[in-house]
Amino acid sequence: MYKILSKKELNPTVTQMEIEAPRVANKAKPGQFIILRVDEDGERIPLTVAGVNKETGAVKIIFQIVGETTFRLGKKEAGEEIADFVGPLGRATETEGIKKVCIVGGGVGCAIALPVAEEFHRLGAEVVSIIGFRSIDLLILEDEFRAVSDKLIVMTDDGSYGRHGNVTVPLKEMLEAGETFDLVLAIGPGIMMKFTALTCKPFGVPCRVSMNPIMIDGTGMCGGCRLTLNQDGRRVTKFACVDGPEFNAYEVDFDEAMSRGRMYLDYERHAYEEACNLFKQA
């Protein structure tokens, strides 16, 4: 069992927790993820590591309540325990040789993007961050991003805060104005990452994305997280859990990845409703 050391609601649907897992805290690097089960018989879900504290053995996770498992996790309080917590999994973000980076975060993906931005800042790189949300109610981690960014642009889809529009707008403006980056790293919904890649491509700026497919074991065993890369005209299958989660954005077949992400949509809707009802009755 793994103890919940702290819990904080960042917005009505996004929660931050610290879980006591010293071995994971000791090893995790930005870009890596963990898999957890809330309780016995629970589903295994992957979540990116949002930060660690080696002294206390705490691993920070930030999750959006989107389905049954995250709903059950959100119902847990500090001091309670969860059944399983394993990691760190996947490859860490490659930081070598990068002097200037643009971090593009969308929605809860900002939670994944933050530790990467922090790492680049710590390594002395110039960090430009663009973070986007549907509206001001869903805004998270603004201060944290500001602290590690040389420049921060906040976007909202409805214009309720920051600039009106999506994250590709300021990115395109900067690139058109001749600004260059050693890397643009996009983390968020599939559609946002796809359009970030399309925005970058004409300018030839290197672009990477962090994929978050459905997975079970996280060690390469099930192959459920497979995605297709287009490499030199060949279609190559990769496993996000061991080969990723970060990939060259220009190679990823986003349409296929987004389609695979919706495989259990019907089931998930149903399970989420059931779980909500269960808690209402209790």
């Binding site: 071995r23 994971v24 090893k27 089960r37 018989d41 629970g42 589903e43 295994r44 049954e68 498992t69 059944a83 399983d84 917590f85 394993v86 990691g87 760190p88 999994l89 079970i216 074991d217 996280g218 060690t219 390469g220 065993m221 099930c222 192959g223 459920g224 497979r226 995605l227 297709t228 299958t237 496993f239 061991v242 077949d253 296929e256 389609s259 695979r260 919706r262 495989m263 259990y264 949509l265 019907d266 089931y267 998930e268 399970a271």
Partner: protein
């Protein structure tokens, strides 16, 4: 008394009943059947059966104890060399091992050694009162990577000699392929749990949720005071066909399909982990895993399940008994055909149609058998122009697995072959000092019992290495 020329059949659930439940198919011998089967053993002097067993169980020895009515004694004979008798009695391919060497088998059917082993182990698990006792510690610490058959065997043998053993498992439950791969109806999970419990009674620590190569590396295990390491991490990486359509929704690797059903209990009435069920299911492959996947799909409620295999019935690599069970249950065998493409649904008028991107069928090509290959199996050859389509809602790819590269990639100086298997010598030693390996991580996908045999060899070598150190 005239000896029965035939093996006593083991009672099973009727095919039409078992096709709709996940309870064990074979029900095991009764006391009377076990006594009658034991009586068929000639107790011959040269004991050829023992040489046919990868862990060298004293087979005539334990059968003699059954004849004497001493079932606990029989268990103790098996337990001397095998750590997982209730498992082996169920999943070993006895027909190609011990039973293939049986003297009775020269003229009649061989003795049902596997069925007797299972009977004895089950009797012990139901009736034994005393917990296994941890022997006095010899002070040496050994780390085992992976809690599958090779790891559990290696752990058991070392614990019995007084070593302080820690087993590290990546998943949340111990047992490896015995819990995520082999289905409940062939190997009840309670039996695996019981075997793991017995190891814990012997003093073995089992730590789940530790991925060696990520959470800890092999080198860090030595830094933590372990004096030897055994790698039994299995062949965890599923192979795909590399044909168009393999990433459609509804296409699974056998590992994923079976893991969802077995480990994550998707077969239960109200599962928390989803699985696609119902409709028409095609399983590609002809091994035990393909049979397991097909029979699982049937039990999950598929209306039709078929196996697509590129050779004929003769060449199916699965155990005969599993194939027979599958046929009895109504699995359709589409032999001498090979998938060319998996076909997906696409509504040209509506890109938002929820069915878009799901499997709708498979295009296959007919095959014929040509000259035997280097292994003596006849090579399948495509018949040009023979392609046709089969309907399907779910496709399961069961064409084997490769060793997982996680440990290789994070352990300097660990040599692997071109298939990714860890290179070892005859004692299980790798290219790294004090690091041993065995099972599928070395050989690629093979059987439970060969992995156990490898765990045993390595345990003996680790004992020798640490006692001479």
């Amino acid at each position: 008394m005239a000896l029965n020329p035939k093996k006593h059949e083991m009672p099973t659930q009727a095919p039409e009943v078992r096709a709709h439940n996940f309870k064990e198919v074979a029900l095991g011998y009764t006391r009377q059947l076990a006594d009658e089967e034991a009586a068929r053993c000639l107790n011959c002097k040269n004991k050829p059966c023992v040489a046919g067993c990868p862990v060298n169980i004293d087979i005539p020895g334990f059968i003699t104890k059954i004849k004497e009515g001493d079932l606990e004694g029989a268990y103790q004979v098996i337990n001397k060399t095998s750590s997982l008798p209730a498992v082996c009695g169920r999943v070993c391919p006895q027909e190609t091992q011990c039973e293939s060497k049986c003297t009775m088998g020269v003229r009649f059917e061989p003795v049902g050694i596997g069925r007797l082993e299972r009977y004895v182990a089950d009797w012990h698990n139901e009736n034994a009162k005393e917990a296994a006792k941890a022997p006095a510690s010899n002070g040496h610490r050994v780390a085992i990577v992976g809690s599958g058959p090779s790891g559990l065997t290696c752990a058991g043998d070392l614990a019995k000699k007084g070593y302080k053993v820690s087993v590290f498992e990546a998943l949340h439950k111990a047992g490896g392929v015995l819990v995520y791969g082999i289905p409940e109806f062939r190997l009840p999970k309670a039996i695996v749990a019981k075997e793991v419990e017995t190891l814990k009674e012997l003093g073995v620590d089992v730590e789940t949720n530790v991925v060696i190569g990520r959470t800890l590396t092999i080198d860090e295990l030595f830094e933590q005071g372990f004096e030897a390491v055994f790698i039994g991490s299995g062949a965890g990486l599923p192979n795909f066909l590399n044909i168009p359509g393999e990433s459609l929704k509804g296409v699974y690797s056998a590992n994923e399909f079976l893991t969802r059903s077995n480990l994550m209990k998707a077969y239960e009435a109200d599962p928390r982990t989803p699985i696609m069920k119902g409709g028409k299911v095609i399983v590609v492959g002809g091994g035990n895993v393909a049979m397991d996947a097909a029979r699982t799909a049937l039990r999950l409620g598929a209306e039709e399940v078929s196996i697509v295999y590129r050779r004929s019935m003769e060449e199916l690599p699965a155990r005969r008994e599993e194939v027979e069970h599958a046929v009895e249950e109504g699995i359709v065998f589409r032999l001498l055909q090979n998938p060319v493409e998996i076909l997906g649904f696409k509504n040209p008028d509506n890109p938002r149609d929820e069915r878009n991107g799901f499997v709708r069928g498979m295009r296959v090509i007919k095959m014929e058998l040509g000259e035997p290959d280097e292994k003596g199996r006849r090579r399948p050859i495509e018949i040009p122009g023979s392609e046709y389509e089969i309907e399907a809602d779910t496709v399961v790819i069961a064409i084997g697995t490769s060793p997982n590269p996680l440990i290789k990639d994070t352990t300097e100086g660990l040599e692997v072959n071109r298939h990714g298997g860890i290179v070892i010598n005859e004692e299980g030693l790798t290219s790294r000092e004090a690091v041993f390996a065995g099972g599928d991580a070395v050989t690629g996908a093979a059987t439970v019992i060969s992995a156990m045999g490898a765990g045993k060899v390595a345990a003996a070598a680790i004992d020798k290495y640490l006692s001479e150190k």
